[in-house]
Amino acid sequence: MSIDLKTIKHISKLSRISVDEKKAEKLAGDLNSIFDFIEKLNELKTDNVEPLTSVAETTLKLRSDEVKSKNLRDQVIKNSPKENEDYFVVPKVIE
């Protein structure tokens, strides 16, 4: 199989990563060689195999619903690239 430039553009949209022509061509090459390698899995018949979703054979434990962390609003906000008082700031969304 082959991943063409159109597919790369589509994946880049889904991934929210902007890609120019040059980068798209490089990515197409890389992804094609990686997928050639991945295709090996098609040698195996797996119709009756249960998929393994987690190796941790454990059931989720319940705990009491208590607030344990302190109010860290100021420190959390301080990490944002752009803030205004108590808010994260993003480019205008509604016209």
Binding site: I3, T7, I8, I11, S12, L14, S15, R16, I17, S18, V19, L27, D30, L31, S33, I34, F37, I38, E39, K40, L41, N42, E43, L44, T46, V49, E50, P51, L52, T53, S54, V55, A56, T58, L60, K61, R63, S69, L72, Q75, V76, K78, N79, S80, P81, K82, F88, V90, P91, K92, V93
Partner: protein, 485 residues
């Protein structure tokens, strides 16, 4: 004592407990050596002044009952450290200061150790050579321009060069064991669920595990004892009875059954790796172990499976880096444009590649063909190990298919880079513990490692086998301090 940094962790602990050394003396020695070793580029963030202060405070009121009393330690920059920048080796987290501490590092500080700084790693732990880090290559102290392995490359370099007495790394597909093998050090990837993932920057959540990286097996067992705890903050943390790994450590492995999987004899494996493996088998026999040939028939499918499962989980985990709440932001004309530019400029090439692979295999119309298929093959790989462990107690393999390579040698060919993890990846897919110990040198004098894989939750057993074999192997690391002028 001028040779403080040459001491192992166990020796330092003994000397501090015996009041022959203070925490300040030890911390100062490691800080000074780290400062002289900038050329290795092992650190991303240094925290030396705070470390020296903490050591002074420890000495004023020393608690010598702790397991790591006043021991300085630098850790991989994938562990969130409260109030100290945590980058994951990425530009996108260049200025991120966590408001919380990872459980694993908290356990370490609770037992008396002191943070010295954050160690370099491949960006988001995606790499096998530490070359994908935004903060540049790390040098392997074994030789100039040699990679230290990855992704825990800063960690392996720092332990081998004795910039820190011991450290922790994370291992998603080999990121502790491969760098340990490349630098002549010991690295343990514990059973999935043994060490909490809380506060570790996530790469592939069904595979990620933290573990110790050390100069010897005894030190490794001691740190594993400290970091492995049940944690309700990690929903996949497992509540099992943990051993006192260092106290229960024994060289008596008589009668232990060790499996040799024939499928690990891969095509064009260098003769020196084959020879090392044979020597390892002889060492194990000398220790009284019984050697049994086994088969892990789906070994060859492990890497292709990994390169679906890991990128799929990564693409989902890394969706949170959007330039809004923390980290780097590139300006854009609108919100979507801002996201796309932020992620394009903030992530490096390898991380973008893996996000794209992951997005593709999870996308509509391809999910069954790739992701579901990979999960099914993952089951077959785990079944192989389950069957093998009906006959044996542990499995012995080489850690890597080659010794360390030169910086730049494999960067243009992602698949050849991925092949580095051929012996380590199956262990992550099956969620098992594995340890790499240094076992010999190749013709160039570079270290080579052997891997011992255990049953789930059976860390004690593989530590014991490693401990017994370590004595027989009697490995000496050949480090000349070439980077110190």
């Amino acid at each position: 004592m001028s040779d403080i940094t040459k001491q192992s962790l166990s020796e330092l602990v003994e000397n501090i407990k015996g009041k022959k050394l203070s925490s300040s003396e030890v911390t100062k020695a490691f800080v000074e050596r780290s400062e002289k070793s900038k050329e290795l580029n092992a650190y991303i963030t240094e925290d030396y002044a705070n470390a020296l202060n903490k050591a002074k405070k420890f000495d004023e009121k020393p608690n010598l009952d702790l397991k790591l009393p006043g021991i300085p330690m630098a850790v991989k920059d994938l562990f969130c450290t409260r109030d100290l920048r945590t980058t994951a080796g990425s530009k996108i987290l260049n200025n991120f200061v966590p408001t919380y501490e990872s459980t694993v590092t908290q356990n370490i500080w609770n037992d008396g150790a002191i943070l010295m700084g954050k160690l370099n790693c491949d960006e988001f732990a995606m790499g096998s050579s530490n070359e994908t880090s935004f903060f540049g290559n790390v040098q392997n102290p074994i030789d100039k321009n040699l990679v230290p392995g990855g992704s825990s490359g800063g960690s392996s370099s720092a332990v081998a060069a004795q910039l820190t007495p011991i450290t922790i790394g994370t291992d998603t597909g080999g990121s502790i064991r491969q760098p340990a093998s490349f630098t002549g050090t010991v690295g343990l990837k514990p059973t999935y669920g043994s060490c909490s993932r809380y506060g570790i920057v996530a790469f592939a959540s069904s595979l990620d595990q933290a573990g110790p990286m050390a100069q010897n097996v005894k030190d490794c067992a001691l740190l594993q004892e400290v970091i492995s705890t049940y944690d309700e903050k990690d929903s996949t943390s497992i509540d099992f009875k943990r051993n006192k790994y260092s106290k229960e450590l024994t060289k008596d492995i008589k009668g232990k059954k060790i499996g040799i999987p024939k499928e690990y004899r891969v095509d064009d494996m260098p003769k020196e790796i084959e020879d090392l493996w044979k020597k390892g088998i002889e060492y194990a026999k000398d220790c009284g172990a019984e050697i049994i040939d086994i088969s892990l028939p789906h070994t060859n499918y492990a890497l292709p499976t990994y390169y679906i499962v890991a990128p799929a989980e990564a693409s989902s985990n890394l969706a949170r880096y959007d330039g809004v709440k923390y980290g780097f932001r590139a300006e854009g004309e609108n919100l979507i444009d801002m996201y796309e530019k932020t992620r394009s400029e903030g992530f490096g090439a390898e991380v973008q590649r893996r996000i794209m692979i992951g997005t593709y295999v999870l996308s509509s119309g391809y999910y069954d063909a790739y992701y579901l298929k990979a999960q099914k093959v993952r089951k077959l790989i785990k079944n192989d190990f389950d069957d093998a462990y009906k006959k044996v107690d542990a499995i012995l393999t080489p850690s890597t298919p080659s010794s360390a390579f030169k910086i730049g040698e494999k960067t243009n060919d992602p698949v050849s880079m991925y092949l580095n993890d051929i012996f380590t990846v199956p262990v992550n897919l099956a969620g098992l513990p594995g340890i790499s110990i240094p076992a010999g040198h190749d013709a160039k004098g570079y270290p080579l490692g052997l891997q011992i894989i255990g049953k789930a939750f059976d860390e004690q057993n593989i530590l014991n086998i490693a401990y017994a074999m370590e004595e027989k192997i009697n490995f000496k690391n050949n480090i000349t301090d070439w980077w110190i002028k």
